[in-house]
């Protein structure tokens, strides 16, 4: 899965968590929980969806690393070994 495909997948899953949200308006470098008004239950449901669909379990200690859309996509790409992604 490429980085773009990961981003599309993440956006689709976010759309299922927050169906009223305009996903096209998400600023990639700003906390998406704040932007989409996601509470801790929403975020847990999102993390569960990522685990079930992509097979990536995100430990709570990594939550600070996945606060924005871009950092979330980069984190998943790194964990999935997506082409063209440098670990960091």
């Amino acid at each position: 899965m490429t980085t773009d495909e990961i981003r599309d997948t993440v956006l689709r899953m976010l759309g299922e968590i927050a169906p009223e949200a305009d996903l096209g308006e998400i600023e990639p470098d700003v906390d998406f929980r704040e932007q989409l008004d996601l509470d801790s239950m929403d975020f847990l449901n999102f993390v569960i969806a990522v685990d079930e669909e992509l097979g990536i379990g995100i430990p709570e200690s990594d939550y600070p690393r996945v606060a924005t859309l871009e950092s979330f996509v980069a984190y998943l790409a790194e964990r999935m070994g997506a082409p063209g992604v440098e670990a960091g």
Partner: protein, 380 residues
């Protein structure tokens, strides 16, 4: 024979709109079965029936708004044979995935949701889908010819958000007008609790992780066992204690407003059970699929700002309950513990209680119990 009436699903609910029937004449129903979907100003609710028998007659059709107490159906309690479904009565036998505002609009416009194709995730019907369906269908069909009943009130053309705001305003104004609130607060050190939770979640699959909010709920439920007079309702001119502890959980809704449905028998649930119940309740609240008993049964309410928001919240009691407890955002602050100043995760719990029912001494005992229980997470 029993009449199934439009239930009062909140302190200030005066009317509801029938969205659809789940049962048809001739169907057998048991106490607790969902028989209909009803739209109120605060939520779409799956209404349960509180008698067992056979549905004889449906008296109100989908889209009709009627006052609380209006007979909606007739149920033969002895289970005698009932007439078959009249073809003019629309029945929504299966639940349809639709946003609350889409359901409300469909009820207003007389659009049968079963005929609408949803454009949202998993085929969820959105408001725009209903608008398109209404345009395509032209004028709404004539309503069915039900049995005699009180004339339905017109469906008000206001948005769902405005209606919910009005319902909340009515309930909260009544609360502040009638209930002599008093407030007590306690700041609780959650160092041990959060450490325990982190270790617990580390060992659990993602699907089984616990939120710290569940620990708050369980501590409140167990605290009520120690100070049961806060677990009650005010009816007429007297307090009526509740044997069961049904926690109302304040849940914010997308698009504005909140509901506070019940987590039934919260004190008797394990943390795993409570987490599953809590997750299910939040999911159904936001999907407009709450049940009538969940709207009517809370015996106290818990509201939590979670990881965001302000450090404390001074909530208003939901009538006819006599208490509500609010937890502020979890914050890290300097805290003196065993003679040392340490950075600690803290939460401020604020209890609002009804002075007609209890006093500061007992309310303080309850908050102290909640604090102690929260700091002993292994016992929750």
């Amino acid at each position: 024979m029993a009449e199934f009436v439009m239930p009062a699903l909140g302190a200030d609910m005066s009317a509801g709109t029938l969205l659809g029937w789940r049962k048809r004449p001739g169907d057998t129903v048991a106490r607790g079965d969902i028989i209909a979907d009803v739209h109120t100003d605060k939520a779409d609710v799956e209404v349960e029936v509180f008698t067992s028998g056979v549905v004889e007659k449906l008296l109100v059709g989908p889209g009709e708004k009627v006052p609380v107490g209006t007979p909606l159906a007739v149920i033969l309690e002895d289970g005698k044979a009932a007439p078959v479904l009249p073809p003019s009565v629309a029945v929504e036998a299966a639940h349809i995935l639709a946003s609350p505002s889409a359901k409300a609009l469909a009820a207003e416009l007389g659009v049968d949701l079963a005929s609408v194709r949803g454009s949202g995730p998993k085929g969820r019907i959105q408001r725009r889908d209903v608008e398109q369906a209404a345009k395509a269908a032209g004028p709404p069909p004539a309503p069915p010819a039900p049995a005699p009943r009180p004339a339905p009130a017109p469906v008000e053309p206001e948005g769902a958000e405005a209606a919910m705001r009005r319902a909340i305003a009515a309930a909260m104004a009544r609360s502040k007008r009638e209930i002599p609130h008093f407030y007590l607060s306690e700041t609780i050190d959650l160092s041990r609790t959060m450490g325990w939770l982190a270790q617990e979640n580390l060992a659990r699959p993602v699907q089984d992780r616990l939120l710290h909010g569940v620990l708050l709920l369980k501590a409140v439920a167990l605290g009520l066992r120690e100070v049961p007079e806060l677990n009650a309702t005010w009816q007429g001119e007297e307090v009526v204690p509740s044997d069961a502890i049904h926690l109302g959980v304040a849940i914010f809704l997308r698009g504005g407003g909140l509901v506070a449905p019940a987590l039934h028998d919260a004190d008797g649930q394990t943390l795993n059970e409570l987490m599953r119940s809590f997750r299910d309740l939040v999911s159904r609240a936001r999907a407009g699929r709450l049940r009538s008993s969940e709207m009517t049964d809370p015996t106290i309410t818990v509201t939590s700002l979670g990881e965001r928001g302000t450090e404390s919240v001074s909530p208003i009691i939901f009538p006819p309950q006599v208490a509500i407890i609010g937890f502020g955002r979890l914050v890290e602050r300097p805290w003196v513990s065993e003679g040392q100043i340490l950075p600690c995760p803290l939460v401020t719990a604020t209890l609002a209680a009804d002075h007609r029912v209890t006093d500061g001494h007992r309310a303080a005992a309850f908050l102290t119990a909640v604090s102690r229980l929260l700091q002993e997470p292994e016992g929750l």
